[in-house]
Symmetry: D3
Subunit: 252 residues, 6 copies
C-alpha cells in the first residue's frame, strides 16, 4: 500500500542491493521498496567533495521517479537517502512533496529515544567534521560525539574486514568508557550485519541508519505526511539550466 524509494547516492550497485535487501526485510508486508542509485558519480562518499557530486546523482534519480508514469497511479510515499552524510537531503526536499530522510537524521532520532547520550562511530577521519555539523544541525550536539575508526568504507568487505571491525569496535568501546555514551550509532550505511554483532558484544543499543531511516519514513508515509512547501523546501523557482545540467531545470 505504501511505496518507499531507497536511494543510494553513490554508484556502488552492490551497496544499493545491500541496503535494498535490508529495507525489504524490515518493512511491513504491503510496503514496496525501490532501491536505486544514480547513473553517474562517485563509487563512495567520503567527505565534502564526493558529497557535491553525489547530491546531483541523488536528484537525478528523484527527478526520474517523480516524472515516471506510475507516479500517477501509485506514487512514492517517501524517500530514504541511503548515505550517512545526508547528502543532498535539503535539495531533495525541494524536488518532491513526499518526505525525504537521511540516515543520520533518522539514526539520531532513534538513538535519542533509547539513550540520553550516544556516539557516532564512522570509518574515516575526513567524515568527522561533516558529521559534527549534521549533529549540530539536528540539535544533538550536547549529547552526541563523533569518533572515527581510521579505516575506509570498503575495508569492511574482503580481506581487511576483520581488522576494520576491530578498529570500529575499539572506538565504540572508547565512546562507552570515555565519552559515557549509552548507545552507538553506526556512521556509515550498509552495516547491518556489523550492528548485530556489535550489539551482542557491547551490550548497548546499536543504531543502524538504514533501518532507522526506512522504518521512520515508512511511518511518515503511512501517516500521509508531506514536505511543507511553505518555506525553505518550496519547489525551486522556474529558471533555465544549461549544458550537462539542462535537463534539471525546474519547471513551472
Amino acid at each position: 500500500m505504501s511505496k518507499i524509494a531507497v536511494i543510494n547516492p553513490n554508484m556502488s550497485a552492490g551497496f544499493t542491493k545491500k541496503v535494498g535487501d535490508q529495507a525489504k526485510k524490515i518493512v511491513a508486508p504491503n510496503t514496496d521498496i525501490i532501491a536505486l542509485n544514480p547513473q553517474f558519480g562517485p563509487d563512495s562518499i567520503e567527505g565534502y567533495y564526493d558529497e557535491a557530486f553525489a547530491s546531483v546523482g541523488l536528484l537525478s534519480v528523484i527527478r526520474d521517479l517523480e516524472a515516471a508514469p506510475e507516479q500517477a497511479v501509485d506514487p512514492i510515499g517517501g524517500y530514504v537517502v541511503a548515505c550517512f552524510d545526508d547528502t543532498g537531503v535539503d535539495a531533495a526536499r525541494c524536488l518532491s512533496s513526499a518526505p525525504v530522510l537521511g540516515l543520520c537524521e533518522a539514526a539520531l532520532r532513534m538513538a535519542a529515544a533509547v539513550s540520553s547520550r550516544f556516539a557516532i562511530v564512522t570509518p574515516m577521519a575526513v567524515s568527522v567534521r561533516p558529521l559534527e555539523h549534521l549533529v549540530a544541525k539536528y540539535g544533538a550536539a550536547s549529547q552526541c560525539v563523533v569518533r572515527s575508526a581510521g579505516v575506509r568504507t570498503l575495508d569492511f568487505e574482503g580481506a581487511n574486514a576483520s581488522a576494520a571491525y576491530e578498529a570500529l569496535k575499539k572506538q565504540a568501546e572508547l565512546c562507552l568508557t570515555d565519552d559515557h555514551a549509552e548507545a552507538i550509532v553506526l556512521g556509515c550505511a550498509g552495516m547491518t550485519d556489523i550492528a548485530d554483532r556489535l550489539a551482542d558484544e557491547l551490550g548497548v543499543p546499536i543504531i543502524d541508519g538504514v533501518s532507522a531511516a526506512v522504518k521512520m519514513i515508512e511511518a511518515m508515509a503511512m501517516l500521509g505526511l508531506r514536505t511543507s512547501k511553505a518555506g525553505a523546501y518550496a519547489n525551486p523557482p522556474m529558471k533555465a539550466y544549461h549544458g550537462m545540467f539542462a535537463g534539471f531545470a525546474p519547471q513551472a
Copy 2:
C-alpha cells in the same frame, strides 16, 4: 506481532479511548494496541504541578504491565506516553527495557523532517514554558517556537469547541506569518480531527503527536530497539519505598 501500550497519564477515560482508537487506526494490521490510564491522579495535565502526579500514575500502569503474566509470552514492544508534556518519560525509561516515547519528542522529529522551521500551538499559556524546555531538551530551540491559544483543553469539546478551534487556528496563522513556521505541531493530545481540518485550511503539514508517537514507537519496536541500560536509564537501584508508594520500590 508487535504490541504497543499507549498510556494516557491522566484519568480521562474518554480521552484514553480517543487516543486508543486513533492508534488502532494507524498501526499495521498485526500491531496490537493497549490503551490505558492510571487509577489515580488528575483529570488533565496543565503545567508542572499536574505533571508531578501524572508521572506516578504513568509509572503505576507501566509497572503493572511489566509484571503481568502475558509479558512472558507476548511482551510489550514499546510505550507511548500520550501527553504532549512528555510527562514522566525519563522515569518510565528506567522502568522498562522497551522504548518509551512522548508525543512532543515524536512530533518534533517528524516536524523537522518535513519543514525547516515549525511551531507548537498549545491550548493554555501555562504550558508554554514547560514546552519550551522540552523543545530545548530535544535540540529544536533554533527552529521551533511555542504559542498558546488561551483556551483550556476541555474547551475543544462541547459548546466552546468552535471558539476554541478558531483561537487555535488564529495562533497557528500567526506562526506562519510572523514566526515563518512551515509546519504546525498540535501541542496537545487527542486532536486528530482538528489536525485534519487545520491542514485543509492552512495548507501546511499539521503534526498530531499521538499519530507521530504511535507510528515511531511501532517502527522502533519492529526494529527490536531497546532502551539502553548503560547510563541515565539504568534500572533504578534497589531500595525501600514507604507509605502509599511502598509498592513502587525497585526490585533487585
Copy 3:
C-alpha cells in the same frame, strides 16, 4: 523574623535532621528553620525513577505547611528542596508564593560567583546525566562539568565512608587537573563535613548545596521576594484528582 522550610524529599529521617542542623547553624539568629520529610516515598534519590516519587512527597509536605493555621500569623518565607537533583522544584513553585530553591541551582550560582569554571562531583553515575540537564537548564553548560565517584550515597556513612571519601576526592582532583575546574560543587546533599575536609585538602572553594540554598533563600525571603504567578509558576488550575491523589486537587 523569617521562617524557612527545608524539605528533604526522601524519607531518611537521619538525613533530614542532618540538613536541618546544618541549616540552623548558618542562618541568622532570628531565622526559624523547619526541617521535614514526606510520610511516604523512597529512602534516597538516585536517578529519574526515584525523583518521580519524591516529587509527590515534597509536594505533600508543602501542601500541609501552606494549609497549616500558623501560616496566617507566621508564614513561611521560603522553601529549600534539600536534594541535589532539584526534585520537584518547578511543581513546588506552582504550589506556593514563597520562593523555592533546590540545592543544585543555589550551588551553581555561588560557584559561578567565586570561579570561572567549576565541576560537580556526585556519588553515582546514574545521576550524571540528570545533573547535566540541570546544569544546562541553569545556563552553566559552558563552565561546569559533572563527574561521578562510583559510590552510593549511603557509602559516605559507616564502614565504607573512608573509601567513599577517597573516591570522591580522586574525581575532584581530576576535575581540577583535567577539566581545569577552579571550584568543586558537591553533587549530593548532607556533605557539609566532607566539604570542609575537601576544601582543606584541595585548596579550592568547595560548595555545599545545603549551605548555598539555605543562605540564598534566606536572603530572598528577607527581601520579600515571591514567586511570580504570571506564567509557568501560576497556581495550578482547579480540577479533580482521584484515588490516592484525591487530596492533592488544586483548589480555586
Copy 4:
C-alpha cells in the same frame, strides 16, 4: 560580624549614599556596610567607554581597602560592585580573595529563582547590547530579554522623574505582554523606590540589583566563601606598572 563593601564605580556621591542606605536597610543587624566610590572617573556609566574608566576607579577602591590596617583585624567579607553593567567584576576578583558580585549577576540569579522567564529594563539604548552580553555570559540568554526606556539615568531624579518612570513602566509592560516575561529586573542601580512602585502597579516580582547583590554577597560572606585563586581569578602576576598607574602594580 560580617563586613560588606558596596562600591559605586562612578563618582556620584549622592548615588553612593543612596545604595549604601539601601544596603544598610536590608542586611542583618550585625553586618557592617561600607559604601564608597572612587576619587576619579565618570559621573555615571553608560556604555563600554565609561566602563573602561570606572573599572580602574573600582580597582583603586578595592586596592585601598585591601591594604588598610583594619583588614588585619576585621577583614571585608565581600564586595558588591554597585553598577548594573558589572563593571570590572572579573578584574576585581583577581585583586581580593573576598567574593565580588555585580548587580546584574545577582539580579539574574534571583529572577531565575522566582520566574521562568524575565526581562531587564534599562534606561539607555546604548546599554542594551552590553547587557545582552552579560545575560549570555551568565547563561540566561534563553530566558531573558533586554529592553531600554530611552531615557538617561539622571532623568529619574528631578523634573523628568515622572516621565522617565512612565517610559520605564511602558517598556516593562511590553516585556510582560509581548516577551512573556514573568518578572522584571531593573537594569540600573539605585532604583529601589521605583522597584516598589512598579511591583505594586504591575503585580509581578521586580528585582532590584542592589538588594539582590547585597543580600547574596552577605550570604556568601557568612558561609566563608572565597574567590578561587586556581585559575582565571588568580592574583595578578607581579610586574611593573608605569606613569599614573604605577601604584597599581601587582605585588609578589
Copy 5:
C-alpha cells in the same frame, strides 16, 4: 603579485562581469583578478536545489584552474565564491590548497567588526532558512537576523529595479528599528551600487559581500595562508567517478 579567482557559480555572464569589475576596482594595483563562471548549470541560485547544481559548476572551474599550466609559474592565491549562499565552499576547500571564501562568511566577519548586531537582507524568502543555517555555522546566530524583501534577484535590474530597491530598503529599515541591527549585510551578490545608495539613505554601514570577500581573500593570499589539509578539507581520497562526472575523479 597576487592572483585572485572570483568564481560566480551560476551561468549569468553579465553577473560574472559585474563582480569581476567590482573586484578589480577594490584590489591593490598588483593583484590580478580572474572572473569566471561554469559552462553548465543554473542562471541564478535561489535555494537548496539550485545550490546543488551550482556547486558542481564551481568545482569544475576550480579544477580547470588548478590544472592549468600557468599554475606552475603564477599560482592562484585565493578563491572567492561569488554567491551569498557560500555554495560549494566546503567542497572547494578540499580541491585546492589556496584559501576559499564565500560572500556570506566574509560579510559576516566584517559586519561583526563594525557593529554589535546586524542583519542580512536577501531578495527571496526561500533563501532565508539556508542563510540562517550559514549564520549559525559561522557562529553569528546571537547577533544576526535574516529578512527577505520578497523580490527576485533579477528584479534589481530593468523595469522592476526601483520597486525592488524600495522593498529591500523597507526591510533594512525594519532591521534597524525592530531588530535593533546596527549594520546591514546585503544577502546577494552584485549589489555594490545598491550598497552605496543604501548607506547614504540609512546612515549605517552596509556590507557588500563581493567587496568583503575579495578584500579578505586578498589579505589572506598576501599572508600566504593556505587551507589546512589535516582534517575536513583534506584532498579527497582517490576513487573512481563515472558517467558525466568521470572527469572529476580525485587523483592520487
Copy 6:
C-alpha cells in the same frame, strides 16, 4: 593612501617596535603604519587585572590620535589593538568611527576560513578563561579550544626562549592529536618568527594575530568601512570625568 594605527596597549617599547615592523612588512606599499603604546600602564597583559589598566592606556592613544591636527588632512583608516586579549576593543569602537580590530577576532576569522577546527595556544594558564570568553563572544566555541603552555610571555625572549618554544609546540601538537585541530592560532602578540618555525615543523596553518589583524583592518580601511554609531558603539554621551581621568570626558 591608507593609514593604519597599530596600538600596543602595554608599555613594552620593544614589543611595540616588533609589531610595527611586522605590520610594515605585510601591508601594501602605500599603506602607512603608525605603531604606538600608551605612556602609562603595565609592561605586559596577563589576565583580567592587567587588561583593566591597559584598556585606559589604549583609549589614551586613540584619543590623542583622533584629536591630532593631521586627522583633518590624513585621517586614520583603522586601528589594530595589538593584544590577543582584544583589550578595550569595545570601548575603542565607541571613540572613533574608524574600524577597530583586536588580534583574537582577526585570527579566529582567518583560522575559520582555512580549517574547520582550530586551537589557540597561549603562554599562561591565567589567560585561558578570558580567551575562552572571547572565543564564545566571536561565535567559535564549537570549533576552537584553548590550551596554555605554562610559560610567561617574556620567556620567549632570552635564555628561556628555547624551552618556551618547546612547551608551546608540545601543546600545539596535543591540539592536533587530541583536539583534532587542523590549524593553530598563536594566542599572543609578537610571535611572527615562532609562527613560521611552527608552520614548518607541524605542517598545518599557523595564524599570527598581528598579521591577521593588520591585513584585515587594511582591507576594511580600503573599503571605507566605518564603525556603526547606531547602537552599542555610539559615541559616548557627554558627561563630566574627574581626577586623573578628567581629560577623558566625552565631548558633545
